[in-house]
């Protein structure tokens, strides 16, 4: 059993590579600011540690106290615990926090935690323009910009170009074509798969892109959860036969069984909707799919409707409202998210798709040159960045455990996805109410 952090977590996929190497490689350039000085405390996960270290090295005027923690990944509640503690004692808050959990800023922005600083007017507006609109929307809580995503995790369609060519299949562009191809694969090439449903975040990959309203904040502290909406049911109906025939198995890519059955040795992955951070780390690393086979295509859309896609994570930076050194804290976030020194190419410093547009372009250029891919995946990823459907809001309660316990366990037992939607809606509603939300079920 591989015990990796696996909740949302783009970047924990990547082992923390040799920091020193990264430092040497990246020490040219860097958005260094003259104003920043004094001292700040920064809490980061292991993956962001090289970035923090590089900042320390390139900004001698700022005394940075770097603290590493689990990053709140994998459903941990470290930050909730710590912030309550700091709030109780009235001191000790860090100035900047990175979280692997995309929904962390939402509770951090509200009582009783009340931790996140409104970055609007504090963070340079000229730079904010570089973030895609859906990313800023996700970080906006009650009209306040409470975080900045470090990386984006938009969903694309991964394609095994070699196998598709070998079987003579055309890459689908709509969910309908994809499902039709699935039916064909089940008959012509049983054992091959076109996706998977066993992740704790599979609903983000399959229900989010079809605009299923089960996590839609419609007013402050009011969430719309309607799993009976046609945008949920039609996708479930489309998926039911595919799950049953085994072309979309209810298994997780992070289990050893999955790598064994579908990974590199057997090479059975034909297509797979997945977030940008899957790319080389999951296919090349976890699943050992050989080089020269995989690439990315545009996310699937519903018939001829406007294309929308889902997202899986995209860890945010949060600045504390208790900070006594706003200038240095902002300077740090600026460096971590927008500087070329950190973000210009894929690697230990920037494993995930950068959220800040100008550096993302450079990062993609470098990714496109990677010989692992059968064709440059960059264009599809870039296009998908702006397509993330904004109607799926982050909420204070985690929705993945509910999806896993109420749906995935049933799929594993051989039941149909359509039949689980009511239980999913009920589970989400119960949790939303317990977290203090008003729930609208229409």
């Amino acid at each position: 059993m591989k015990l990796k952090r696996r909740w949302l977590v783009p970047a924990s996929l990547v082992a923390v590579a040799a920091t020193t190497g990264a430092l040497v490689a990246a020490s040219t350039g860097g958005a260094s600011s003259e104003k920043a000085s004094g001292s700040i405390t920064v809490w980061v996960d292991a993956v962001r540690l090289p970035v923090a270290k590089l900042y320390v090295k390139t900004h001698p005027k700022v005394k940075v106290n770097v603290v590493t923690y689990d990053g709140d990944g994998n459903g941990a509640t470290t930050m909730q615990t710590k912030i309550q503690l700091w709030n109780r004692t009235g001191k000790g808050w860090p100035d900047v926090v990175f979280s692997e959990q995309a929904n962390d800023p939402v509770w951090m922005a509200q009582p009783p935690f009340d931790f996140a600083l409104n970055l609007k007017g504090v963070f340079p507006a000229s730079l904010l323009k570089g973030w895609p609109a859906p990313s800023l929307a996700q970080c906006t809580v009650n009209g306040r910009l409470v975080c900045l995503q470090d990386n984006l995790a938009q969903e694309v369609l991964y394609v095994n170009k070699k196998l598709m060519g070998q079987f003579g299949y055309k890459v689908p562009t709509t969910w309908q074509q994809w499902a039709a191809l699935g039916a064909k694969v089940a008959k012509e090439h049983p054992g091959y798969i076109i996706g998977n449903m066993g992740e704790s975040f599979s609903h983000w990959l399959y229900l989010w892109p079809d605009r299923c309203p089960i996590s839609q904040v419609v007013a402050p502290k009011t969430v719309r959860i309607n799993s009976a909406d046609v945008h949920c049911t039609r996708m479930a109906t489309l998926l039911d036969p595919l799950i049953k025939s085994g072309v979309v198995p209810p298994e997780s890519v992070f289990t050893p069984a999955f790598a064994q059955k579908y990974g590199g040795d057997n090479d059975k992955i034909l297509l797979m909707p997945g977030p940008t951070w899957y790319a080389k780390d999951i296919f090349g690393g976890t699943l050992k799919v050989p080089a020269g086979e995989m690439t990315a295509a545009l996310p699937l859309r519903w018939k001829n409707e406007a294309p929308t896609t889902g997202q899986v994570g995209g860890g945010p930076w949060i600045v504390s409202k208790h900070t006594k050194n706003v200038a240095a804290a902002i300077d740090f976030v600026k460096f971590a998210t927008t500087s070329r020194a950190v973000k210009s190419k894929p690697g230990a410093l920037s494993p995930g798709f950068p959220s800040y547009g100008p550096v993302a372009t450079m990062w993609l250029k470098s990714l496109n040159k990677d010989t692992y891919f059968a064709a440059p995946p960059g264009a599809a990823m870039k296009a998908a960045a702006g397509l993330v459907w904004k109607g799926w809001s982050m909420v204070t309660y985690p929705d993945q455990p509910i999806w896993s316990t109420s749906v995935v366990t049933q799929l594993v037992a051989g039941k149909a996805l359509s039949d689980q939607l009511p239980a999913l809606g009920e589970g989400l509603s119960n949790n939303a109410k317990a977290a203090g939300y008003k729930v609208v079920n229409k």
Binding site: M1, L3, R6, W7, N74, G75, T77, Q80, T81, Q84, P112, F113, G198, E199, S200, P250, E251, S252, F254, T255, P256, A257, Q260, Y397, P398, Q400, P401, W403, S404, T405, V408, T409, V412, A413, N430, A434, A435
Partner: protein, 294 residues
């Protein structure tokens, strides 16, 4: 008169033995309990809340399922402990010394693993792709992947099995020690009177170690209702296929540390304390644990 004098002497004599533990008991046992009692009957601003926290957590949609899980788990686990620990100890006690010492050692080994480490081993045992007992998982549970092994219906039994596997060895050793306190002439007298090994085990030995069994049940009952580590680790390892509020203690943890509801969490903790106390009272009175020699 005689009795009270010896009693009075026992306390100062025993005191030095408990003294090193006493500060820890107060700081980490009694004080937190009092704090929890206080939190359970107050609001977040410290004002009096009465039973509000108790009714509020009782109405929580996760409360009843969590208690149901714990109930099944505790019943299965305590049942297994009673039958197998006592049974194995009685069997061992009838064996030659060297054989019995070897078995006692074997039974004890899993208990040497710390709780969390034992669970991690079970993560492998329950994964049909790597488990040495894969054929059992396939034939008994019908599981070909890990997610099927830990299907919701299997969980109470799986957790009970893990807990039994790690804890039973220690208790077997304790029970064996208890059996050793039985004077050999009693056993011999029974044998002369014509009692076979079964009669000796069940009619003679078993009643004489009743108090030790009661002691085991009290401790295990409290431990069982406070189950936390097993479901928590399996929940993380399965990427959420097990609910993060599967057990009552997990629910208290989630309330305190995800929803910042310390008062609700304290109310559940007090519920568990009451259940533990109630269980202890029932077992003590039924078994006569503290009754002086008849």
């Amino acid at each position: 008169m005689e009795a009270t004098r010896t009693r009075g002497l026992h306390i100062p004599r025993g005191l030095p033995f408990v003294l090193p533990y006493l500060p820890f008991l107060i700081v980490f046992g009694i004080a937190p309990t009092i704090y929890a009692l206080e939190l359970a009957v107050t609001n977040v601003d410290g004002s009096w809340a009465g039973v509000d926290n108790f009714t509020r957590t009782y109405d929580d949609f996760r409360f009843i399922p969590a208690f149901k899980h714990i109930l099944v788990y505790t019943v299965v686990w305590l049942g297994a402990l009673m039958v197998f620990v006592v049974g194995l100890a009685l069997l061992l006690h009838g064996r030659a010394n060297r054989v019995s010492a070897t078995y006692r050692f074997l039974f004890y080994i899993p208990g040497a693993l710390a709780g969390a480490a034992a669970v991690v081993i079970w993560l492998f045992m329950l994964d049909p792709t790597v488990s040495p007992g894969a054929f059992l998982l396939r034939d008994l549970l019908g599981a070909s992947i890990f997610a099927q092994s830990i299907a919701p219906g299997n969980l109470p039994y799986i957790f009970a099995m893990i807990a039994f596997w790690t804890g039973a060895g220690g208790w077997i050793v304790v029970m064996y020690g208890a059996l050793n306190t039985i004077p050999p002439d009693l056993e011999e007298a029974a044998r002369i009177d014509g009692a076979g090994p079964f009669t000796i085990a069940f009619r003679l030995k078993l009643p004489l170690i009743r108090k030790w069994i009661a002691y085991m049940l009290i401790l295990s009952f409290a431990l069982g209702t406070q189950l936390f580590v097993e479901p928590e680790i399996v929940q993380h390892a399965s990427f959420g296929l097990v609910s993060d509020t599967w057990s009552t203690n997990q629910l208290a943890y989630q309330l305190a540390f995800r929803y910042a509801d310390f008062n609700g969490a304290a109310a559940i903790a007090v519920d568990l304390l009451m259940i533990g106390l109630l269980g202890a009272v029932v077992i003590v009175t039924r078994s006569g644990l503290f009754r002086a020699e008849d």
